[in-house]
Structure formats: structure tokens, C-alpha cells
Symmetry: C2
Subunit: 427 residues, 2 copies
């Protein structure tokens, strides 16, 4: 089929009629499918069920150092958990604090602490006139929700195939002392699945911010979430790069097992410099006596080490890969030549990012919804929910079965075509 833009009005009208007929055929099927959230499928959760067996009443709940994990204490997390999540984060265990079940919660608390108490002795953000964050777009809606909630002004920075536009990042960060942070998902980014290039990581590490209390919020959510064994992205370890660049305190790195073991029942952590850790502990010791050490031990005993995690992630990949391929192959087959959308084929992570013709994203998502398929809301991948081009749509292939996904993707493609035709017809 030829590109839509090259079609005559007549051809477009003809096409529209055909597409509408097919759309109505789907509508009567009364679908109830969901491609909106990065939620593992039940099949994925099943592969972690062994975790429910590693601790039982006849097992000793002491860690390798003799700490009774059932009792109070150990603010930072047990040593073995620091080692495990340290391996996962590619940093030494002494740069890790283990938290509760959610890295989102750690990020929220990190911003909240900066608001009320400032960073490493600097004026609390709530006492400063204006606080701004850079937001690579498209990005993760829950990041943007945190900064919006705290009244932090968000500035869009476009993503490139190498990561955020670093020319712009450097220019803004070095010139405006109100800019205190940047949200990054550096590996298999949400939603594009882009991994930051070595050059991008090095430029991050060498940033010269106007604000001394500027921090990079490095959410390494998908650090081990590959789709392919032999076809993986590699990300430079940023703490190490920052140290080499003489910028050791500039980054907070976040990580969790939410999409490794059980979402909501995993273990989260922060990895950062000794100075930042000291600053964080001052607050953490007021907030809690300690996080759930029994669950830390459960993870340690189940995964053992990074090899255990990689082996486990291969099982996830075996489930996820066909789903990604189902969506991507359909997009390739149905849309490649039409000039009405573009997408990236990621090697890991949880999402596929689709860029429709400008001004079409909302219409596509609405059409999907009206036919029973819920997509992430158009605009969600931008601060304030405002996609200036109304173009980006996040596709989350993990939760539906492969069969459901095939149906949902067919509908999605149909809605993309229909909305594009309508747009070209000026409707």
C-alpha cells in the first residue's frame, strides 16, 4: 500500500469507509483488553512462586552475619541483600541502602526530603523560590507525577536514539540554578526502550550544574530486563563515571526487584556516594527503624546472586519476547510503508513507544477505548499529561496473553489508520 499522504482525497474516502467497516466489526465483539500499564502477567508471576518456599518455620531466619531478620534493626538492609542488589546495580554493597517494596516510594521520599531538608546541607527546596526538573520526553508518568505534586516546574528535553538531548541538558543545567534534577530511565527507557549511549552517560557524569544541590535521578528500573540473550544493550555504570569525573555526589541511582520477583512485594534500593548516603541516613533513621528484612532474606535465599537473577530474567524474557514480537511484527507488517507512524524495536524493558502523526494520539487512544482496548492515556508520557504534538502512545504488551495481544494490536493498528485518514481528510 502506498503512503497515506500520497493518496488522493477519493482514495482516502474509500479507505476510510473500509476501515470504518472493519472497526465496527471489532466493536461488536465487545472486547475487554488492557495494554495500558507495565504490569507483569500471571504467567510471569508464576515463575517466582519458588520464592514462597525458601522461608518456612524450620528455616533459620538469621542472615550471614547472624542478624535475626525477624527483629528490629539494621536500618540500611542486611549485608547479603546489599550484596545482591549491589551486583544488580553494579556498585559495591557499601554504596547501597536497601528500602521497602517500591523504588517509586524511594524516589518520592528522596524528593520529599530535598523539599523539607535540602540536599547535603543546602537550603531546603521548599525554602527556595523556584525548583525545576528536566524531563526527557517521552518519559515515565509516575516520575512526572512526583515532581508535579511537589510544585516543581518541569521542562521537556527531547529524547534521541542516544538518550536525552545532552546539548540541551548541559546548556540548561549549567545556566539555571533553579534546575535541581533530571528524571532518567537510562536502560530500556520507559516508554521507548532506548539505552543511553556511553557518550551520554559520560556527559551526564561531567555535568557542571549551576546548582550544587542538582542531582540526576537515575531510575535503573530495567537493568536486567533483557528480551534477548545474545542481543542486549549495555549501559555504562554511572556512579563510577561520576567518580572518575570528579563529580561523585551528582547521582542517585534507584533499582528494585519489582519486575523480577513480585511487584509490590519486592525489594528496592538506592545506590549513591558516601556523602549522599550519610545525608540520607540522617533522615532515614528518623523515618523508620528498618525495612522488611525477612523479605530481604527471602530474595537473597531465592536468587542467591546475580547469576540467579539473570537465570530468572531469562524466564521472564521467554514470556515477554513473543509478546513484544507480536506487537512489533504487526506494526512492521501493517504500518511500515504508510508514513503514519514510527516506533522503535527495543531489546528490553516493558514498553513499545509509538509516534503517530501529529494530532492523532488522543483520537487513536479514544478509538481503541471505544472498541474495548485500554491504552495508556495519550499525553501520559509527558509532564502535565501534555504531549505538545499529540503524537506519542505507550504500548504495554506484558499483561495480556499473546492471543489477546494479537487482537488488541490489530485493533490498535486499525485505529491508527482510521485516525490518520481522518486527520488527512481534515476531519
Amino acid at each position: 500500500m502506498k503512503p497515506y499522504r500520497e493518496m488522493s482525497r477519493e482514495e482516502l474516502l474509500q479507505l476510510k469507509a473500509e476501515l470504518e467497516e472493519r472497526y465496527h466489526e471489532v466493536q461488536v465483539q465487545n472486547l475487554h483488553l488492557d495494554m495500558s500499564r507495565g504490569k507483569p502477567s500471571a504467567e510471569q508471576l508464576d515463575i517466582s512462586m519458588g520464592m514462597m518456599d525458601v522461608l518456612n518455620s524450620s528455616v533459620d531466619l538469621k542472615d550471614s552475619e547472624g542478624v535475626d531478620c525477624r527483629n528490629y534493626g539494621v536500618l540500611d538492609g542486611v549485608k547479603q541483600a546489599k550484596e545482591l542488589l549491589g551486583q544488580m546495580s553494579e556498585v559495591s554493597p557499601d554504596k547501597i541502602i536497601i528500602y521497602g517494596n517500591s523504588s517509586l516510594n524511594v524516589m518520592y521520599d528522596t524528593v520529599a526530603r530535598a523539599m523539607t531538608h535540602g540536599i547535603m546541607g543546602h537550603t531546603p527546596w521548599c525554602k527556595q523560590e523556584k525548583i525545576k526538573f528536566l524531563c526527557p520526553v517521552p518519559g515515565y508518568d509516575r516520575h512526572f507525577a512526583i515532581t508535579e505534586y511537589f510544585g516543581i516546574e518541569m521542562l521537556n528535553v527531547p529524547m534521541t536514539p542516544e538518550g536525552p538531548d545532552m546539548d540541551l541538558v548541559e546548556k540548561l543545567v549549567s545556566s539555571d540554578s533553579a534546575i535541581k534534577g533530571i528524571w532518567c530511565v537510562p536502560k530500556y527507557s520507559n516508554p521507548q526502550g532506548i539505552t543511553y549511549s556511553d557518550e551520554t552517560v559520560r556527559r551526564f557524569a561531567r555535568l557542571k550544574p549551576a546548582a550544587e544541590d542538582f542531582r540526576i535521578f537515575w531510575d535503573n528500573a530495567y537493568c536486567v530486563h533483557h528480551l534477548y540473550d545474545d542481543h542486549q544493550d549495555f549501559l555504562l555504570e554511572i556512579l563510577d563515571e561520576c567518580e572518575k569525573a570528579g563529580n561523585p555526589d551528582i547521582v542517585y541511582k534507584f533499582c528494585s526487584t519489582s519486575k523480577i520477583s513480585f511487584p509490590g512485594s519486592g525489594v528496592a534500593c538506592i545506590a549513591t556516594s558516601p556523602n549522599n548516603l550519610k545525608d540520607i541516613r540522617k533522615q532515614l533513621t528518623i523515618q523508620t527503624i528498618g525495612h522488611d528484612k525477612v523479605n530481604q532474606l527471602r530474595h537473597v535465599r531465592f536468587f542467591k546472586d546475580i547469576d540467579g537473577i539473570h537465570a530468572h530474567m531469562r524466564k521472564h524474557a521467554a514470556i515477554m519476547r513473543p509478546k513484544f514480537e507480536e506487537v512489533l511484527d504487526t506494526l512492521d507488517r501493517e504500518l511500515s510503508d504508510l508514513g503514519i507512524g514510527s516506533w522503535i524495536r527495543p531489546r528490553g524493558g516493558y514498553f513499545i513507544s509509538f509516534d503517530a502523526m501529529e494530532g492523532c494520539a488522543k483520537a487513536i487512544v479514544a478509538k481503541c477505548k471505544a472498541a474495548g482496548v485500554v491504552m495508556t492515556g495519550a499525553g501520559a508520557t509527558f509532564p502535565y499529561g501534555k504531549d505538545p504534538k499529540d503524537s506519542n502512545i505507550r504500548i504495554a504488551p506484558s499483561f495480556p496473553t499473546k492471543e489477546e495481544l494479537a487482537v488488541a494490536t490489530d485493533l490498535f493498528v486499525l485505529c491508527v489508520k482510521l485516525a490518520s485518514v481522518e486527520k488527512l481528510l481534515g476531519e
Copy 2:
């Protein structure tokens, strides 16, 4: 023996020599005992080990409503957990939000949210000129640490056998709009083991604060932590009383299973009015996708209902009771007639509060430490660690064995006597 104050200088010097001799005898024993923190003993933790068996890989991890507890979602906590903790908190499940592992963390977050976002639409506390909290004394050091951390000025309110001095509370709260809260441990209070009287609870419910964003921080940490089956304290349910008094939004009630199941691996909750819950959810949905539902389910399956909790708490009591009696009987036997200290015989909770002669608490704790027994730091039961009379000492009998406790209490009593004699001698 006659009261120390009635002794002649000669008699005191003679006594001092005897006490010093005994003290040196203990010192050479090189003790390493700890009566400093309200930490359950290993024996207590053992009674919860069955909790490690209720979930395993062949058990369905769906809750009563079909929610897969392994996956994301359910911000408020699963229904059955709300029911269980609702029963424990004596409020309806729809007034409950289930949190993570620590009620201290919930309290911290509650203060933090008030600082950055205010309470129910009122000006954030960080934007108000001055924030003050009332602190019944002696009280819980970790409460005071939270308010101190946020720069909140703390005002002491003396405890009475009925609870805080309500004349003073009413006077202060109604006249000073900078007073935004009061810390309460209303049942088996920390450290005195006092339970607030019905009249005290009703006066709390009928408070007319000058500040509309005043809240009672009602930490019901020891709600089911009785020492005796037939000899329990009863506490009026405050949410109910507040509602009756036309003051439904004035209280946040906190609760957890930390000293029921495993400290650090329990489940915490807040119970409050629909208006407050709505206010809290606005923030919580930004902070997290949800807390650990698998652990919620584990608690529900293990305890089943409030009867299960009460049966479990009787096992704790069987371990705790002899320890409390060991300490209290020793105090009665050794110190009753000497006029150098007073204490309360609690019916539950985790602590015994000892009031030494004015100006002696620090000396007693130091002497204990020098002989190998760690007590809670003198002053810790007061805001800023400052006991104006240097009199109160918190005794935590739970962690040592009964035998260790006997040794530690004997030393404590000896140190009380010695420090008192020294004081009376003007040393």
C-alpha cells in the same frame, strides 16, 4: 530499712561504702545486658514462625475478592487486611489504609505530608511561620525525633494517671493556632503503661483547637498488648468519640503488627475519617503503587481474625508477664520504703517507667552502663532528650531472658541506691 532522707550523714556514708562494694563485685562480672529498647525476645519471635508456612508455592495468592496479591495495585491494602486491622483498631475497614511494615514510617510520612502539602487544603506547615506540637511526658523518643527533625517546637505536657493533663492540653490547643498536633500513646503508654481514662478520651474528642489543621496523633501501638487475661485496661475508641462530638477529622490513629508478628516484617495502618483518608490518598497515589500485599495476605491467613490475634497475644503475654513481674517485684522489694524512686505497675505494653530522685537519672544510667547494663538514655523520654528533673528512666524488660533480667534489675536497683545516696550526700 528506713527512707534514705531520714538517714544521718554517718548512716549514708556507711551505706555508700556497702553499696560501692557490691557495685564493684558486679563490675568485675563483665555483664553485657540490654534493657534499652522495646524489642521482642527471640522466644517471642518464635511463636510467629507459623506465619512463614501459611504461604507457599502451592497456595493461591488471591485475596477474598480475587485480587492477585503478587501483582501491582490496590493502593489502600487488600480488603481482608483492612478487616483484620480494622478489628484490631476497633474501626470499620472503610476507615483504614494499610501501609508497609512500620507505623513509625506512617507517622513520619503524615508529618512530612503536612509540612509540604498541608492538611485538607490548609497552608502547608512549611509555609507557616511556626509549628508546635504538644508532647505528653514522659513519652516515646521516636515520636519526639520526628517533630524535632522537622523543626517543630515541642511543648511538654505532664502525664497524669488518667493520661495527659487535659486542663493544660485544652488551654494550649484552644489558644495557640501554631499548635498543630499532639503525640499520644493512649493505651499502655510508652513508657509508663498508663491507659487514658474515658474522660480523657472524651476531652480529646471535644477539643476546640485554634488551628483547623490540628490533629491528634493517636499511636495505638499497644492496643492488644495485655499482660493479663483477667486484668486488662480498656480504652475508649477515639474515632467514634470524635464523630459523636462533631469533630470527626481531628484524629489520625496508627496501629501495626510490629510487636504481634515480626518487628520490621509486619503490617501498619492508619485509621481516620473519610475526609482525612481522601486527603491522604491524594498523596499516597503519588508516593507508591501499593504496599506489600503478599505480606498482608500472610497476616490475614495466619491470624484469620481478631480472635486469632488475641490468642496469639496471650502467648506473648505468657513470655512477657514473668519478665515484668521480675522487674516490678524487685523494685517493690528493694525500693518500696526508701523514698528514692517511684514506678507504676502496668497491665500491658512494653515498658516500666521509673522516676528516680530529681537529678539522679543520668547518674543511674551511667552507673548501669559502667557495669555492663545498657538502659535507655536518661532524658530520652522527653523532647530534645531533656528531662527537666533528670528523673525518668525507661526500663524495657522484653529482650533479655528472665535470668538476665534478674541480674540486670539487681544492678539497676543497686545503681539507684548508690546514685541516691551520693545525691543526698551532696556529691
